[in-house]
């Protein structure tokens, strides 16, 4: 299978920026995700096999890498995953559609709001539901806040692993503000269950916009702080620049998406290129870097946070003018009637009872919806048999795809760099294992 793996120039049809960092491909030829120890080296008997994880703190959860070391040099690598497998997809088949909405958030527990969005969008696509404008903009706002949250967790933990402990505290300080905003709106700090099929679960509470504005005003200063701390820090630069190289061709062949892909010089963002929600009505840039290394993945995420702040600001501007508008569609076959109507309207009581006990029915069919989550293309494939429960739910986990690149990125790295590499791929193990 050697020749077909190579991408020839004829097949390259993607918007690529910059020169590739190496010639040809570095994807291991036998198994794409396993770095094999060269037989010559194996015979010397100097190769030491080390278990990196599953309980090592810098593996972001429970990732186990079996690493073969020649001195400090990584010469062999294979990943073992599945420690967090909890059968989300099977569980969701047993729940009614609207109860199943709680599950996706717990799959990628850092990019929870985006995961919830993709499942809700899939239901709405099958039901052909119209969503009120206010709900669309609020969804966009919360998803961008969630993107900042996710990148802050990435930045804090990755820097912590490379020795910059103070970064962790600063990042989690801002993360705390974001969680407070989520709590203000939804009552929950994480796993909010705020998106319903058809709109939002509740109206946006008064007092949210001023608080969100405070955050939007503060966050650019915080980003400046991070840059001051890291971007001229010699240790950080030496640990990240030129480490974990992944060319654009290899990244696409390995199914990479999101910041990893954009740091390899591929100008691709689903928010702009296959637009959803109202991303075509906001002004934002897609940062693309060509270094293909850990440092540029960091820079992509830093720039994305700044862009997300811009989007949040535009969302607040729009939402403030939508005071009093509906936040959820009034299709009573899908959406719960307003609580106060239950005391006066027989029909509302019936609808409420039917939706809560039996659930709403979704026409038979299959859809695949993909959004740009903080980690890249987060897809949701849903099959319905026409009943109140999903027949099959599957998530295209960006973290699973990201970890497939570990072996390619680990080409010729030191064991210490492996920590930087795994951190830069930003895999959430809940997302990987589901």
């Amino acid at each position: 299978m050697s020749a077909t793996i190579q991408n020839t120039g004829r097949t390259r049809r993607w918007p690529i920026v910059g020169e590739p960092p190496y010639e040809g491909t570095r994807i291991p030829s036998r198994v794409p995700t396993v770095l094999d120890v060269p037989p010559v080296l194996r015979e010397t008997g100097d190769v030491l096999q080390v278990n990196f994880g599953p309980n090592h703190p810098s593996t972001h959860g429970v990732l186990r890498l079996i690493v073969d070391l020649d001195g400090e040099l990584v010469v062999g690598l294979s990943a073992v995953i599945g420690y967090l497998h909890t059968g989300f997809e099977k569980n969701m088949e047993q729940k009614t559609w609207w109860k199943a909405i709680t599950y996706p958030e717990r799959i990628d527990y850092v990019g929870y709001q985006n995961n919830e969005l993709v499942f809700v969008l899939a239901i709405e696509k099958m039901l052909q539901l119209e969503v009120p404008e206010k709900a669309t903009w609020m969804r966009m706002l919360l998803c961008e806040l969630n993107r900042i949250h996710s990148h802050l967790v990435y930045l804090g933990t990755s820097a912590l692993e490379l020795g910059a402990i103070s970064m962790f505290w600063y990042c989690f300080r801002e993360r705390e503000t974001i969680l407070d905003l989520f709590e203000l709106v939804t009552g929950q700090r994480m796993h909010t269950r705020y998106f319903q099929a058809g709109g939002l679960a509740e109206d946006i509470p008064t007092g949210f916009y001023p608080e969100a504005r405070k955050f939007v005003e503060w966050m650019p200063h915080a980003l400046d702080d991070y840059l001051t701390l890291l971007d001229r820090n010699q240790i950080w630069l030496e640990r990240t620049k030129g480490v974990g190289l992944l060319s654009a061709d290899d990244a696409i062949a390995l199914g990479q998406s999101g910041p990893v892909l954009r740091a390899s010089g591929v100008d691709w963002d689903l928010r702009r290129d296959q637009t959803y929600l109202a991303y075509d009505q906001v002004d934002f840039k897609v940062p693309v870097y060509t270094g293909c290394d850990v440092y540029d993945r960091y820079r992509v995420r830093m720039d994305e946070m700044a862009e997300s702040v811009k989007i949040v600001r535009q969302c607040i501007d729009r939402l403030e003018r939508m005071e009093g508008q509906p936040w959820i569609t009034d299709d009573r076959k899908v959406v719960l009637p307003p609580r106060e109507e239950l005391h006066t309207s027989m029909e509302s009581l019936i609808h409420h009872f039917k939706i809560v006990t039996e659930g709403y029915r979704v026409p038979a069919g299959e859809v695949y919806v993909a959004i740009e989550s903080p980690r890249g293309e987060c897809g949701c494939y849903v099959v319905s048999d026409g009943g109140p429960k999903p027949w099959r739910v599957h998530f295209r986990a960006p973290s699973l795809a990201a970890l497939q690149a570990t072996a390619t990125c680990a080409h010729n790295t030191l064991i210490a760099d492996l920590i930087a590499v795994v951190g830069s791929l930003d895999a959430v193990m809940g997302d990987t294992d589901r």
Binding site: M1, R30, V34, I81, V266, D273, Q274, E366, Y368, G387
Partner: protein, 182 residues
Amino acid sequence: MTDLAKIPGYAETKEAHGETTVVVARDSIRAACAYARDELGYAFLADIVATDYLDWSGKGVSGYIGTATGRDLNLPMTQGLQALPEAKPARFSLSYHLLALRQGAPRLRLQCWLDDGDTVDSVVPVWPAADWFEREQYDLMGIRFDGHPNLARLLMEDDWEGHPLRKDYPIGGEPVRFSAAE
């Protein structure tokens, strides 16, 4: 559309919910994927997913309104006229979600059908990304991929019995591994 008909093993094109599904013969899925990548510009394999349609026309399936038995007071959710979902050609569907990295380009779903015990060619030679995607479907759905370089379980333990996402896999009642008798 004429381009899609040239896909090796082409059987039919289905349009639903604004998505294009091309059904191809099971034995030509690798050639179809290579054609989609090289000739149609679908450079990116987003996902591989199998679905188990076991008993799709049977009682356990809701259908649009009723079930196969029609109206039955003793079975919940069967009131109204029966309208079952259309029968499927085989038990499992295997969908390949492809993406062209061009602004506004439509996605493409390549789909093939297989019964229990059938195998399908691995597309790892076309997209290295298929490595874990195929292992996951083998692990959870029991689809065997011919020519996969390392077809082992991915998420479940190596010695796990059965494939949990199949519809006939029991829910609950997990065997107890260690008991007082041992």
